[in-house]
Symmetry: C2
Subunit: 656 residues, 2 copies
């Protein structure tokens, strides 16, 4: 910063924003003013001097972006947006300029200014919801990857709290950014030294963080986060280094407001009566600096070199099933009638790569198990190896989605359960991401329970009970194909659907159940057979076991209809019709702990009272077994045990 006037201008701007912060949180009676104040100068620098963006067009395709990972500090950003008259609104059509008076509506029902960054409520300055900590740097990485794919000069800034940087995901992101040479990401660590319940650990001090970041391979600058000159200098070479840049800033929680610096002031608004004194305190803090003209407006971003490639994922010219499988090397497996859902999924993904330019695929070091490797081999520039860091992978996908891409993330079904917080934030962000969990249920029988996805269905089924904003589709679609053909079609459905989707695939090879051109629909199911005694409802691998159970029942004169419920939320009326037609009794079979398909069917049955339904799920912790039939029997899910369950519901004797 060249002049005293410029220094003064940044101080004055910090004070202006700070006063907005205390006023709006006092007005809301909630919020985190002290955290926000610690970012006063950094925000002023980033949003007024550093970032190449246009407040009037927050959707500009090549503008720099800012991810506020420590989401509770959001009032400082809102202050700047209002001061700049930035555009807000849920869509371009509804957009308006934010005014200072709007800040009083912080956290109000009808306000776009949610308690934490929440683009879906109408602040398009943000790309993703944050507030559950540790996720923002990963989002920034995803935005940066998308920018690189699009040839955009966009830079991405992320602000991370010091206490927040205890979250392991932050370090997954730090590694990922180095691996992928995302030197156009700049991370700002806000070291105000105070957490919620006490002081931040010395493990997260500015010194320690700097040493850590250096050791992780970043270029690090440690500064006083309230010194305009130091700030200017620190950010001068963003994106120009061989390494990503981290700015570690020592800051003061409650900067400027003496009253908010007593004790550990966190998450507490000032009282309205105290506002005059607090504002005086802020004014006095900057009084020594030269009064200066307004800061120069941010530079307009460069125009995009070319429009990024995006197509409508619906109505694409998919190759026929057989061609897609052959192209992936599975022609012989199809001919032999033995192809696992994970393999057919990989082949489908590869086929989609050719027709959907915005499709990108991520994996966490298991691409040779999930079969995402088929896509990676064909489209290496659109495949991102995340290594063993599932939380980062999920949040990177949110950033990629915000960049207009359609990311498909892959790992074992089991390991998604460490990233469900991130997935919930993706849902709040209305991110268009697709998650695939392979080796689902008890099929990795040899490896044992630490590798088995057993609660995943309950979790994703929970998301599927919530309608999306359009009230027509759900917040999350769930798919569980039973054979190669359905895996192929469910992959297509997943890519066509807007929003969060989760698909389970299974380890074993299995026979094909469907003709290649069978019609599949999100929320649909297939009825197999026309037994009139009861319905067996299953999905995924259990469809094969349920079919064997139906055969056993047939030997006892019981005619069962098999319903392959490959997608949730399932259509209630149609399912009720099918079960009633099959005798009004259903046994639902699932290779996971309870609360998945069984709960979905039971809720329909209980609400209408039109049929009965019993659930057979995994009712003990599995262990390793050498053979597949052993694990099924161990968990009470062999064909024989299912048949016995059916006879029990029918109040007949055991099948033996």
């Amino acid at each position: 910063m060249s002049s005293a006037a410029a220094v003064g201008a940044l101080h004055r701007k910090a004070a202006t924003l700070g006063k907005f912060v205390v006023r709006m949180t006092a007005s809301a009676g909630a919020g985190h003013p002290s955290s926000a104040l610690s970012l006063a100068h950094l925000t002023a620098h980033l949003m007024y001097r550093q970032m190449r963006w246009d407040p009037g067009n927050p959707w500009h395709p090549t503008a720099d972006r800012l991810v506020l990972s420590e989401g509770h500090a959001v009032p400082i950003i809102y202050a700047a947006l209002a001061d700049l008259g930035a555009t807000v609104g849920r869509s371009r059509e509804q957009s308006v300029a934010l005014h200072a008076a709007d800040l009083d509506q912080l956290r109000a029902l009808d306000s776009v200014l949610d308690g934490h960054p929440n683009p879906a409520e109408g602040v398009p300055f943000f790309d993703a919801a944050t507030g559950s900590l540790g996720q923002g740097l990963s989002v920034a990485a995803g935005l940066a990857l998308a920018a690189r794919l699009d040839g955009s000069p966009r830079r991405v800034f992320a602000i991370v709290g010091d206490g927040e940087s205890r979250e392991g995901q932050v370090w997954e992101a730090v590694d990922f950014i180095v691996d992928h040479k995302l030197n156009h990401v700049c991370a700002v660590f806000n070291c105000n030294g105070q957490g919620q319940a006490g002081l931040v650990s010395q493990q997260q001090s500015a010194e320690r963080l700097s040493a850590k970041l250096e050791a992780f391979g970043w270029k690090v600058t440690t500064i006083d986060g309230h010194d305009p000159g130091a700030i200017e200098q620190a950010f001068a070479r963003v994106g120009e280094s061989e390494r990503p840049l981290a700015v570690v800033a020592r800051t003061v929680k409650g900067w400027g407001a003496e009253q908010l610096r007593k004790g550990n002031w966190h998450g507490k608004p000032p009282k309205k009566d105290d506002l005059p004194a607090i504002e005086r305190s802020i004014d006095q803090t900057v009084a020594p600096y030269a009064a200066a003209e307004e800061l120069p407006r941010p530079r307009v971003p460069a125009e995009p070199r070319s429009a990024p490639q995006r197509g409508d994922p619906r109505g694409l010219a998919w190759p026929p099933f057989a061609d897609a499988m052959s192209a992936a090397g599975f022609g012989a497996a199809v001919a032999a009638n033995a192809l696992g859902t994970r393999k057919a999924y990989g082949a489908a993904l590869r086929a989609a790569g050719a027709i959907l330019p915005q499709l990108v695929v991520l994996d966490a070091d298991v691409s040779n198990s999930t079969f995402s490797e088929l896509f990676a081999a064909a489209y290496p520039q659109r495949f991102f190896e995340c290594k063993i860091g599932e939380q980062n992978m999920a949040s990177v996908a949110v950033g990629l989605s915000a960049g207009g891409l359609i990311p498909v993330c892959n790992t074992f079904a089991k390991f998604w359960s460490r990233a469900l917080d991130q997935i919930e934030l993706a849902a709040i962000s209305r991110a268009n991401i697709k998650l695939v969990g392979s080796h689902a249920g008890i099929t990795p029988h040899s490896d044992g329970p630490s590798q088995m996805g057993l609660c995943d269905v309950a979790f994703f089924r929970s998301l599927s009970t919530v309608p999306a904003d359009d009230r027509e589709s759900p917040l999350g679609w769930f798919f569980q194909p039973s054979d190669a053909v359905s895996a192929f079609h469910c992959t297509r459905l997943m890519l066509e659907a807007r929003g969060l989707c989760y698909m389970r695939t299974h380890r074993p090879d299995a026979p094909l159940l469907y003709a290649p051109d069978t019609r599949f629909e999100a929320g649909g199911f297939h009825v197999r057979g026309a037994g009139e005694h009861l319905a067996l409802v299953a999905s995924g691998y259990m469809v094969h076991v349920a079919a064997a159970a139906a055969d056993l029942l047939g030997r006892h004169g019981v005619r069962a209809t098999l319903i392959d419920a490959y997608s949730l939320p399932i259509r209630s009326a149609a399912l009720t019709h099918a079960v009633v037609r099959a005798g009004g009794k259903a046994v639902v079979v699932e290779d996971n702990y309870g609360g998945g398909l069984g709960a979905a069917v039971a809720e329909i049955a209980a609400a209408s009272g039109k049929f009965r339904a019993c659930c057979a799920s995994v009712r003990r912790i599995p262990k390793s077994t050498v053979r597949e039939d052993e694990i099924l029997t161990y968990c009470g899910l062999s064909a024989q045990q299912i048949a016995d369950d059916c006879l029990g519901l029918l109040e007949r004797k055991g099948a033996e």
Copy 2:
């Protein structure tokens, strides 16, 4: 290591273990021999020379412990256990010595040798299930904390894979160990350079890991993991430094077995026909070293200084409710009839501290929100601040439980969803841990959806559908108290129950609904009122809203029974009886996404066909609101909306 003979002895032992590894994985037709072989020397050193333990008594209270975080390498440990004739078995009564011949049963249904470390299946050498990566160092930290509390000289070793160390949780644990000065933890990083799908990132190279660990404040020694002398020297001063010790070992994946070193050999057993050649290769690798006598037996551990304090958590002399609340400073709140469940829970925890010596409490920097701070103030030596690292907190608790303590972990309900993988592993470990999620559901209305636990009930309800090993209790109990009295009693039930428990508490203060001495039981519920038209089933905060709905219904002549279902799994027969008595129709209300209490009730209804049940849950993504009533209405859960749902089920007109 002083002599060539000793060097030779370690090489020979590595070879012996290595040959067991290839044989057992060939026999099982599964497993990860190449990963196991990379640990041949390190395992031989730790288990034969370094660790003070007794193979004949794996339950010895002061013996050193080993956590194999990269669980897929477990065959090398099994090899050593068999070679040493170590004791295995699900209990002391069933224990036997493991023999070399038993190794052929790796992964078999009836074998104790599960595919990944799994103490519950009968290998008490391990303290926790591992295999889902990144969790073992946290478990080791928990074991070390327990040892310190007990005054035990126990040291704890943890082996972490290089690829595995990408998991952020590893770095949460690294920080935690420094924060708590757990210098009797020794971490071994196994840098064989190969992951599953490809090479390990350079971010996890031995050099980079060493630099990172140094930057995190550890003492680091980098060695050749197949050099007996270097290994001996590296471990010579474990626990004697001012800093925890990390040994970063460069190793060879498939060490000794030339045949398993071609390409990237991961997770693939050798063919039986190839065994002779592979064993020859291993023998030849160690041929240059002096044949030596057997390694000296491990030293016997020191005796415990005194028996650790443990009491039966059942039948304790709890203070009366009013006394517990007063002691915590809530006497006035009780008198004013306004006390939140989170506060009453904190008071109960504090009361338990006085009567349950093995109770320990953990929090993730929100103890002033969860009210675990009440325990922390009274029992600071049994309170462990984990800072903002929930995954580490969950796995530390598993280690504490293995050390005989009863850990209660606290954070917002929302943030548990990033540690569900760890919680599943805790369940597999049969760990006796208690999790409390505050600010559950939509009650943190001002903060918005990023702070709201909305899928937590579906997840934990899924665990509650699985019976524990005793087939009498569930794998996980779920509690959701509605008022201060029930929070007090549910805290007691949670501490009395053996195994995993999850309790939800809520943000707002609320009136007391129960007399102080009301009886509460795990799996129980309370019936309030005796309406005969329908039952309203709710729990937690929604009990209050449902009560208001019942009042509204009363004005329309509809008499509702209110069922406070504070615990899952709920008793089916009793619930059915209660709902049938209340008219055979139930509306279930929950302040979370679907799949929780509603699914539990619906499954009971659908199975028996004896009553109908409809579920009212959060059916859109919430946002910030200033007032509590606004968020209820926004989510369709106001008293009025619930009353309308009830009238709908009764096929009457709207309540207005």
